[in-house]
Symmetry: C2
Subunit: 409 residues, 2 copies
């Protein structure tokens, strides 16, 4: 029998307890050990549960109990989660977590402590909820060098954009609907401003390319400025607007990593990822594109990923899984304005001189949309360094720039 502790009894934590208790038999068969929840840490009272006797408000009980070999951290936030996880690892306990904020902020340090103490630190649930992503990347794709990762990493914003695209709802109306359905928080900033997706692309980049990427290094643009005009023009051009997290290796030993709303061609599999679903596309040098798709959040999907990590820790109490990356450095992520991209540009108050100007400045083969509203001009540029494209946009006269968005292939 292996004793485990669950720190946090919110949405995910209660799901972890539920799965460990209801699936006890098949889980012990797979882990080859019975898994016993010895403690659940939460400051709140939970009475009347079949496992109410397991609750404690005192972290020291877990930290100081040598019988606890695996700890699941599902509290969220960096503090006190960081201190708790660190102490558990230092005391020789393996730790699993669903906490993307913690992994994005402290992943390299905690992986190093786990390595030094010959225990495991696993966090499959931190990206894509119940979708297997990190372990397949680290294990199944181990014979590949990764070159690029992109994905729809936030279910709330994908739900909102899907409602805007499919039902022509405004951003505000779609956000309200997401809040009413419990998909969005009352304060939706972390989702709609792209911060949540930013943490996830940091973790994917770190695992894929081997070096920590800090959220502060990654420019995140949210979806609050997306209008139904842009949605409609994108559709006419053969695209769908999605919030994309993207990272790739560059030629100069740096990487690019960013989160932005982008026009995604309808032929790209990511364009078909709707509602609260997430998807991650990983490009390996041997496999080419591989995609992982499913529900990126929710109580049971996320909890099932945490439990799978617990099972893996129990099976590997004496061996370490290969999951590691180095510390980051200040110059590792290229400034977004220096990265080549393709832009969608929407101009208003434009007169007849604008289309010829565009061709003169951006080239004859720029993709101009024909059937726009009167006095509006919409086009998609060729690929150039972003700041050069933005400089060119500024040169356009007799018009206003209403929107510039990335367009991917």
């Amino acid at each position: 029998m292996v004793n485990v502790a669950v720190m946090g009894h919110g949405v995910v934590g209660s799901g972890v307890a539920e799965i460990l208790l209801t699936h006890a038999e098949s889980i012990s068969r797979k882990a080859k050990e019975e898994i016993n929840i010895k403690y659940i840490l939460d400051l709140r009272d939970f009475e009347g549960l079949s496992y109410s006797d397991k609750f404690t408000k005192d972290f020291r009980k877990i930290a100081d109990d040598d019988e606890v070999l695996v700890v699941a951290e599902v509290m969220g936030g960096v503090h006190p989660a960081y201190d708790y996880v660190k102490e558990c690892l230092l005391k020789g306990k393996s730790v699993v977590t669903s906490n993307k904020e913690l992994v994005a902020a402290k992943g390299a340090e905690l992986l190093k402590i786990a390595q030094d103490n010959n225990v495991n630190f696993l966090f499959e649930a931190s990206v894509g909820g119940g979708i297997p992503v990190l372990r397949p990347m680290a294990q199944c794709m181990a014979a590949n060098e990764m070159t690029e990762i992109s994905g729809i990493l936030n279910g709330t914003t994908n739900f909102i954009l899907t409602k805007m695209v499919k039902e022509n709802l405004s951003f505000d109306t779609a956000l309200k609907m997401a809040q009413d359905l419990g998909y969005a928080e009352r304060n939706p900033d972390a989702d709609v401003l792209g911060h949540d997706a930013c943490r996830k692309i940091c973790i994917l980049a770190a695992l894929g390319f081997g070096k920590h990427v800090y959220p502060e290094q990654v420019k995140a643009t949210g979806i609050t400025e997306i209008t139904l005009e842009d949605v409609d023009y994108a559709d006419k051009l053969g695209y769908v607007i999605k919030l994309i997290g993207h990272c790739a290796k560059l030629d100069n030993d740096k990487i690019t990593a960013a989160v932005y709303p982008a026009l995604v061609p309808k032929s790209n599999m990511l364009s078909g990822v709707n509602d609260v679903y997430n998807a991650v596309v990983v490009k390996g040098d041997a496999t080419d594109d591989v995609m992982f798709y499913g529900k990126g959040a929710g109580k049971l999907p996320t909890a099932s990923a945490v439990v799978a990590d617990i099972i893996d820790c129990v099976k590997h109490l004496k061996t370490r899984k290969y999951l590691f990356w180095e510390d980051g450095d200040q110059n590792y992520v290229e400034a977004q304005e220096n990265v080549p991209t393709r832009l969608y540009v929407r101009l208003t108050d434009a007169d007849n001189s604008v289309a010829p100007q565009i061709k003169a400045i951006f080239g004859d083969d720029v993709k101009l949309l024909n059937n726009t509203v009167a006095n509006e001009v919409v086009f998609i540029t060729n690929v150039e360094v972003e700041k050069d494209l933005l400089n060119k946009v500024e040169k356009l006269q007799n018009c206003k720039v209403a929107a510039t968005l990335h367009a991917i292939d």
Copy 2:
């Protein structure tokens, strides 16, 4: 240093050697051991390669060499692969394979021998080529009970159907194109008759539900009878025709498992899987639908999955991965005709009495297509047991049955 042998130097085998040699440094870092190819078994001569000295035509050299701890079987076919793999496992060597025919025929037996000898038998490459599927199912989804698995499991037939749907090519023309591009064999039967997909759905069902499923138990229908008329009507009804491998748990402790061309709704992610790409959708009780997508075949994708399994074996020389299923039994797979389904039916030589007959027999809410060619009637039934639906189709008078195909949700 760990010595390995590669049995077979065809498309996949040469890819395995290439990846192990070109990615040696990153692979040894991940495996925490240098991996040395000691032997390559092939009856043919390969001169002038940088590793020509490693070739042998004698299996005994590998079997009798106690220094060889891991063997990759990439010869294909059941014999002699089965005898070779069995002997290696009995001698305490871990074995990895890309051979779906072998795993579908002998998986349970070989997994048992591996267990008894405390070694590993891994076969990620046997389903989906380079796409991670089996390990994520067994590990990341370990906290789930699987209820249903469906997928596009054969790239050749998916390429042919994509050409029929997108470019209006006939089956024969599209097959010829697939052959010219090297996607289809000169004798394409294993692909176009559904046998290859059948082996893969057997492996997926065995892993997902815990019991061996033999290809002989699974009805496989190929795509040779699909016409452009069906493709066109499917499109008008909002569907795309795909070759689907499907298995699911039934209420009576049996399962259903089958391969058939099916109408897939355009809103279903599988409808967007085109060309030689494959995808597998796994439904778990906690995660709901999870999809794995990528190139299902090809030298480097498949070889990279074999190498990942080699790395995993090297890291787990003394522990067993959880990957196991029981022997099958004769009554485990329900006869396809007893399974509920939905049918697409195309009738020719039909007069005005047919539409009213359909509504009388199948119900008023049957989905009748309006704009058919003269004297043709097309409809999609509600869900009923297949043989009942087919009996009802036989009752229709004053028409001929040109096609009946499954329609999925």
